[in-house]
């Protein structure tokens, strides 16, 4: 049985929905579930104030969310990346439903130098060890007139498997495939000799970069205020149109809007290196991974109701998205998400 009309509120039979996965999405998921449980709570009797659907959230990492959703141990897996090809093969009933849009900034620690211009070729060169100093001709060529020091480049990467690593390596591969092969695109990779230092989590990247002059690091956009407080520079990245753009809500929204038309019905799409002169090149969908074949019809209805709520009420910028620097989904993508949510049944 596949639900055709999407429920707008949970069933009145109390159910618990389990969610685990992406640490990047976790703060937003937490805000969503709190508001949702408050909005749909019993108003009478002994259970007054009790939510109809309890939603347990956990920050376990995207891979765990995906594997748990596939094995059925949780109902919703949160992931920064769409389903891997092999995961789709092994569990064909899994779908990835876009919930919001995130982005990634490239930061560096060069005292006194702001708004450095970088592109994937130069970043790939730093990470694979071809570019070792900041006054390398390749960096100079992108930044005429900037007095670059002869300081050593220290590229940092994430030691824990991370959606951020997936986004960054996707960007390098998309713009500079000859320097960065597709085998080096994943949530954890064997880093080439250029990058020998790893940090745990986005927070570790910020403190590691702050402690190391000459570092370069990729950090989730939700850490924007922390990277600025740490005195790190934010790079302007070359986009597909050859223009250099900084990560702002305008450039992220421009990149998202430029790609809504080509988003397929299953929403499996890399938004990396999208078209448009003002588009920021490293943005992504945040996904809910759900098995469309649930064992319990009432629970399936509750999952549909909750996810439907997140892509409508949950898209409100001031209440939910701005605090984590996420961007709302474009209207046409919300339609695709709704269509996928409707497939969840028992």
């Amino acid at each position: 049985m596949v639900g055709s009309a999407l429920p707008t509120k949970p069933s009145t039979t109390p159910k618990t929905i389990l969610e685990t996965g992406s640490t990047l999405l976790y703060p937003l998921m937490g805000a969503w579930t709190q508001a949702y449980q408050k909005q749909f709570a019993s108003t009478s009797g002994t259970s007054k104030g009790q939510p109809y659907a309890t939603i347990d959230t956990g920050a376990t990492g995207s891979g765990t969310g995906l594997a748990d959703a596939a094995s059925g141990t949780v109902d919703i897996g949160a992931s920064d990346a769409y389903l891997s090809s092999s995961a789709k093969t092994s569990t064909p009933t899994l779908v990835n439903i876009a919930l919001a849009i995130s982005a990634q900034q490239i930061n560096y620690n060069l005292p006194g130098i702001k708004n450095l211009k970088l592109d994937a070729t130069v970043l790939a060169g730093m990470y694979n060890g071809k570019i070792t100093t900041w006054n390398d001709p390749a960096i100079k060529a992108l930044n005429p007139g900037v007095n670059l020091p002869s300081m050593k480049v220290v590229p940092l990467h994430r030691e824990d498997s991370s959606g951020d690593t997936f986004l960054f390596t996707s960007f390098l591969n998309a713009q500079a495939a000859s320097d960065w092969p597709s085998s080096l695109v994943n949530t954890t990779i064997t880093w080439p000799k250029g990058s020998t230092t790893a940090e745990t989590g986005n927070g570790g990247m910020v403190s590691g970069c702050q402690a190391t002059k000459g570092c370069v690091a990729y950090i989730g956009i939700s850490y924007l205020q922390k990277t600025q407080a740490a005195g790190l520079g934010t790079a302007m990245l070359k986009n597909a149109a050859g223009k250099f753009v900084a990560p702002t809500s305008a450039t992220i929204a421009a990149a998202a809007n430029a790609q809504t038309a080509k988003t397929p019905p299953n929403e499996t799409l890399s938004l990396i290196n999208g078209p448009g002169a003002t588009s920021y090149p490293i943005i992504n969908f945040e996904y809910a991974i759900v098995n469309t074949k649930q064992s319990d019809g009432i629970k399936a209805e509750d999952i549909r109701a909750f996810l439907h709520w997140t892509v409508h009420t949950g898209q409100d910028p001031t209440t939910y998205l701005d605090p984590v620097d996420f961007q709302p989904l474009p209207a046409s993508v919300i339609k695709l998400s709704d269509a996928q949510i409707a497939k969840i049944g028992a």
Partner: protein
């Protein structure tokens, strides 16, 4: 687990309090309470053995396809590539094992990194521990010795994640800012010493920091055991040594330490076991460089335990499950190394025999 269930039966049947069968209340054997204790004892004896066998079997079942596909290069390469097409790799089958196309794994750097950091920990930690133990027993005034002893035991109780945090926030940056640049600048340019020259990252994440953090973690284990052993050395041989004109140092080297040699080996093995398997502290200070061994001790590296904890999440996104199998194979390697150290220590103890081991004859 299964063994404890029947144990509950007789106790309920007898209708007594579980304590009623204890010696002193007039009843003996055969009745409720004692049966419970007997069954609990049996279960207690079987569960550890069962757990070890269960863990090894589960790891083996998971890892056998990985053994077949990864082959010997598992031990000689340093690479973690779940799929050649990256995130878009498809599932293929080789020799019955499902894996992502182009999957390639090798953990040379993790295995050697584990051994080297443990070696650094032992080289630094064991002499310090023995020195501390000798000082506590033979040198320090009694009240001060008791105080130092308490701190030693408190150090053993600090969770490793706290030590790791201290390593990243305080100790590593201190090494990177104040120690390493000074040492690197002033060492003569001699081949062997070049392992002690080189740049280090700002948080001090390196092989050196990992080894030293592990040393700090094994010191309380080795030192408190050594202290208890030294206390057991009879006074007569030591008095004899002093009567022969030996200095305190000579007495310690020639009488006290040889006397407790066997127990000391046991204590060091306990320390090695801790160092080999320590995960989170090393994951925080090693820099987790899986791609190869560093060219000097200030380079980043990784260990088996740190590799396992850092790569599990990405392994779970491999739909073929092969990356998880590969991590199981790596875990099995760690289990084998740890067991091998224990067996080697047993043989060493047999050969040298002497005073009983501090942790019983089971080691």
């Amino acid at each position: 687990m299964a063994a404890s269930a029947p144990g509950a039966g007789p106790a309920e049947g007898a209708g007594d309090s579980p304590l009623s069968g204890l010696p002193g209340d007039g009843t003996r054997g055969g009745r409720g309470g004692l049966d419970v204790i007997r069954w609990l004892g049996r279960a207690g004896a079987i569960i550890p053995l069962g757990a070890l066998i269960f863990i090894v079997i589960v790891l083996l079942v998971e890892a056998i396809p990985a053994f077949r596909y990864n082959g010997l290069s598992f031990f000689s390469k340093s690479v973690y590539t779940p799929g050649g097409g990256g995130y878009n790799s498809v599932i293929v089958h080789t020799g019955g094992a499902a894996h992502q196309s182009g999957a390639s794994f090798g953990f040379f750097s993790s295995i050697i990194g584990t051994l080297i950091t443990t070696l650094i920990a032992v080289l630094v930690g064991v002499p310090l521990s023995i020195g501390a133990a000798l000082a506590i027993v033979e040198r320090l005034p009694k009240r001060l010795a008791a105080g130092v002893g308490v701190f030693l035991e408190l150090l053993a109780g600090i969770p490793s994640v706290v030590i790791g945090l201290w390593g990243v926030v305080t100790f590593g940056p201190f090494l990177a800012r104040d120690i390493v640049p000074f040492v690197s600048r002033n060492l003569p340019d001699v081949p062997v010493l070049n392992y002690f020259k080189g740049p280090i990252n700002g948080l001090g994440q390196s092989m050196l920091a990992s080894g030293l953090i592990l040393a700090i973690m094994i010191i309380p284990i080795v030192a408190s055991t050594a202290r208890d052993l030294i206390r057991q050395v009879p006074i007569l041989p030591r008095e004899g040594a002093v009567a022969l004109g030996m200095s305190d140092a000579q007495c310690a080297m020639r009488v006290t330490l040889p006397w407790i040699r066997t127990g000391l080996i046991g204590a060091i093995v306990l320390g090695i076991g801790r160092a080999l398997g320590e995960t989170i502290a090393v994951a925080m200070v090693s820099g987790n460089n899986i791609a190869g061994l560093p060219s000097n001790i200030y380079g980043t590296m990784t260990t088996i335990a740190a590799t396992l904890v850092n790569n599990l999440d990405s392994a779970l996104s491999d739909g073929s499950h092969f990356t998880v199998r590969t991590l199981a194979e790596l875990a099995l390697v760690l289990v084998v190394i740890t067991l091998a150290v224990n067996v080697a220590a047993r043989m060493l103890v047999r050969r040298t025999s002497g005073a009983a081991l501090p942790i019983g004859p089971g080691l």
